[in-house]
């Protein structure tokens, strides 16, 4: 069947980041097409270009054989492309019907609103979707599932033939997610192209007709889902995580000591549903899993940034490398010097004043050890490459681990980092473990986990579902990531 929507050689850069690199994809009428990949792989940027929200640097968006030429949301909507964003764009105090009409109000003579026509249209669309909505209720009184249905109604009222949804199940309960896919299937059956961005492989397995994998801005694979067995899913996992040769690292035997980090049945909202794990001194324990299964919350709990709702966390002082180095790891506008010792000024203060010379020595030492190039303490962190930025964040955490923190927690420590920097960071992690730290490594990169870890815990739906040796076959790990024990449909996150 001919493609309803075709993306042709789309390309987009944000500064030094090549967010989408020469990606071509076709979405066919009547099919449910899943787009998967790590966070930051470029999925959202790609689909925002399709919806006219982001203007591509190069390439074409072609619908029904005709290309978009203005790349505005208005144009995309007029041409039948509708997108439901991850964060809903609804006006809380207005009624559901008002929200549907907003920006596309049917009018009678002299510009009077034709509310009846709008209602009839909305009701018809909802019936086609197989849902009903309280049209007069203010949106802020609606549940998240209803809000999402409302967003879909909005796109359909505007006669969207391509419906794009960015991580639609992230906010839904399993029941709601199952209902959503029923609705999406009806839309596809009615001749529309449905595109879903998701992190949940079980959704892909259970609902998608086609799946495309994006990694580091590039299209890795695009294939029909005519096999849904473990082997096919393992291949998909490999596509998402990448295989390639794992970075070289000489493994040295380490002495395991006492348990330094222990979690027992830790619960937090819907994200952590009873996490139990232990890490001993000198041990590197990996946490694998498709993103959005509680890893982020696990790290935030360990960092003390979020309380737990239940369970026990036993840990000495913890040093943390957060997942998002731009938001949480660095003060981008501040100097490399300030970033290398961020949060440690108390150590350098005498009578409230910072001892500049001592701070300088410490920062210089960390900088040299991290081999940041150029070794300029005065440069703003924003001016550095991603690899060098990450070296700074890791150097800070490792230094803190050496100065008394017994536990080192790292989340995606080499994401978006070049191979050389990644190897340097791996060496630092291994050295910290050799020095007797308990290391918990959360990563979406299987190669990294295999290289470094003594054990790999697989996390799914807010639980540690299994523990595997680092040389377990891909298929075993992929299967575990599907979270064997849970019901079909997506897991909800707060």
């Amino acid at each position: 069947m001919a493609a309803l929507l075709a993306l042709e050689r789309l390309d987009k850069r944000y500064g030094a980041v090549h967010a989408v690199a020469d990606v071509s994809l076709a979405f066919e009428a009547g099919r449910l097409h899943a787009v998967v990949g790590e966070n930051g792989a470029g999925k959202s940027t790609l689909l925002k270009m399709a919806a006219g929200v982001v203007v591509p640097d190069a390439g074409e968006v072609v619908i029904d054989g005709v290309r978009l030429d203005q790349h505005t949301a208005r144009e995309a909507i007029a041409r039948g492309i509708g997108m439901v964003q991850q964060h809903f764009a609804l006006v809380g105090v207005l009624s559901a019907l008002d929200n549907v009409m907003l920006g596309a109000e049917p009018v009678r003579a002299l510009g009077r609103l034709d509310v009846e026509r709008a209602r009839a249209r909305a009701v018809a669309v909802a019936r086609e979707m197989g849902v009903s909505l309280p049209w007069e209720a203010p949106v802020e009184t609606l549940g998240v599932g209803d809000r999402q249905r409302l967003e879909i109604v909005r796109t359909l009222v505007r006669e969207a033939r391509v419906v794009i949804l960015d991580e639609p199940t992230a906010v839904l309960t399993p029941g709601e997610a199952a209902a959503l896919y029923t609705t999406l299937r009806r839309l596809a059956d009615a001749g529309r192209a449905v595109v879903v961005v998701t992190h949940h492989l079980d959704e892909v397995r259970d609902h998608a007709d086609t799946v495309s994998v994006i990694r580091r801005g590039k299209l890795v694979s695009s294939r029909p889902m005519n096999r849904r067995d473990g082997e096919a899913m393992a291949a998909l996992t490999r596509d998402i995580m990448g295989e390639g040769p794992p970075p070289r690292l000489e493994r040295r035997a380490r002495q395991l000591g006492e348990v330094q980090l222990e979690l027992r049945d830790v619960r937090r909202g819907r994200a952590l549903r009873g996490v139990t794990l232990r890490v001993r001194a000198g041990e590197i324990v990996g946490v694998a899993g498709v993103e959005g299964n509680g890893q982020r919350e696990l790290v935030r709990v360990l960092a003390g940034l979020e309380p737990v709702d239940g369970g026990v966390v036993q840990a000495g002082p913890v040093a943390v490398v957060h997942e998002d180095r731009h938001a949480e790891g660095l003060v981008l506008a501040a100097s490399v010097r300030d970033n290398l010792v961020l949060g440690e000024l108390a150590r350098f203060a005498r009578l409230g004043m910072v001892d500049g010379a001592a701070l300088e020595r410490e920062a210089r030492g960390r900088l040299e050890r991290a081999r940041v190039v150029p070794p300029d303490l005065d440069a703003p962190a924003a001016a550095l490459s991603g690899g060098n930025q990450q070296k700074i964040v890791v150097a800070r955490a490792v230094a803190r681990a050496e100065r008394g923190a017994r536990v080192l927690v790292l989340a995606q420590p080499t994401r978006g980092v070049d191979l050389g920097a990644a190897r340097a960071i791996h060496a630092e992690i291994a050295a910290a473990a050799e020095a007797g730290r308990a290391v918990l490594l959360v990563s979406a990169d299987l190669g990294e986990l295999r290289t470094l870890c003594d054990r790999i815990l697989v996390m799914a739906r807010g639980r540690i579902v299994t523990e595997l040796p680092p040389d377990a076959p891909d298929a075993r790990i992929g299967e575990a990531m599907l979270g064997g024990d849970a019901a079909p449909g997506a897991e909800a996150r707060p």
Binding site: L305, H322, A327, E328, L330, V331, A334, G343, L345, V354
Partner: protein, 350 residues
């Protein structure tokens, strides 16, 4: 760094130039020769000792409120409340100064009145600081609110006993609590102008504030929090406490600004004394571009315009200099990323 400085200077120069152009147009519209009026403005301020003294007098509270606003801006906060903090401090200073025993020597009286000013200003900033730190309430709203409350509270306090009955002014402070005028140094040519030892005090405070931000632990953390609260929170810097500290310190410095008119000039507080310096401080901080020397120059510029307005008032309305100030503020504020961030960007910064 150099790049940033150049950008800042360009915006400032362009803003000032645009302001003078607006002034020229207005003067011309009033049927006067712009060049002649500008000449009169300059000769009436920097062209004679009394004029210089008056410019320095007007610049003194502006420098302090400018430092106050700058301290908050560094934390990413916009303190619009210097106006109210100054008024409350003025009343507190004058009241304490008037109630000291008549013969209190200066070495005892001056430290007391100089201490009460920042304390009162800080106290007035505590409410917005708590609202911001505990509940995330936007400080622009709460400081404006506190300005209105200060207006009413000061008026009420004057009416209910702090003022001399039948007037809106407090009794005179005791002689020992007066800040000597600079002419006491033998600068007799300043004769008659109100510039006092509050000026060197203000310059010292501006320098101390810069040192505090660059060298002290809390000051440096305030700056880092202003740049990225998320990253600071992740590294366990107490973000809310740092924000509160910046706002309270800002209030303290704004309160100190009250000593120039109260102790250096009038010797008492009256309704409206020092009014306008709080808002003027916002302009001074924006134009000062985060550098103590910039703040001094900027305070001098606005002091010149205030005094210059009085000089040319006979030929054109003094408000034309207000227009000039307004144009400069708008131009520079638009170019100042910190203003945009404080007013608009917080939501986006998560």
């Amino acid at each position: 760094m150099i790049e940033r400085l150049r950008g800042a200077t360009t915006a400032t120069v362009a803003g000032v130039a645009a302001g003078w152009l607006a002034l020229a147009l207005l003067v011309w519209a009033y049927g006067e020769a712009p060049a002649a009026i500008a000449g009169q403005l300059l000769s009436g301020t920097w062209g004679m000792p009394y004029g210089i003294g008056q410019v320095l007098y007007k610049a003194t509270p502006l420098l302090l409120t400018g430092v106050a606003v700058e301290l908050a801006l560094r934390a990413g906060l916009f303190n619009i409340g210097a106006e109210g903090q100054l008024a409350v401090a003025g009343l507190a200073v004058a009241t304490l100064g008037a109630h000291l025993p008549r013969g209190t020597p200066a070495w005892l009286a001056l430290p007391a009145v100089l201490a009460i000013a920042p304390l009162a200003g800080a106290a007035w900033a505590v409410v917005p600081a708590i609202l911001r730190a505990r509940f995330g309430a936007h400080e622009v709203i709460s400081t404006i609110m506190m300005n209105r409350i200060a207006d009413a509270a000061v008026g009420l306090a004057l009416a209910r006993g702090l003022a001399i009955p039948g007037t809106v002014r407090t009794p005179d402070v005791v002689p020992g609590a007066r800040l000597p005028r600079l002419e006491a140094l033998g600068l007799t040519s300043l004769h008659g102008s109100a510039v006092s030892f509050a000026l060197p005090l203000a310059v010292v405070v501006a320098a101390l504030a810069a040192v505090w931000l660059a060298r002290s632990r809390v000051g440096r953390e305030v700056v880092l929090v202003g740049l990225s609260p998320t990253a600071c929170a992740a590294e366990r810097i107490p973000v809310a406490r740092r924000l509160a500290a910046a706002l309270v310190l800002s209030g303290a410095v704004a309160g100190l600004a009250a000593v120039a008119p109260v102790l250096g000039y009038k010797g008492y507080f009256e309704s409206g004394l020092g009014a306008g310096a709080g808002f003027g401080g916002i302009a001074v901080a924006l134009l000062g571009r985060g550098h103590p020397v910039g703040l001094v120059l900027s305070a001098l510029l606005f002091g010149t315009l205030e005094q210059g307005g009085l000089v040319i008032n006979a030929r054109v309305p003094m408000e034309v200099t207000t227009v000039l100030q307004g144009v400069i503020i708008v131009a520079v504020a638009l170019a100042d990323a910190r203003v945009r961030a404080a007013l608009l960007g917080r939501g986006r910064a998560r």
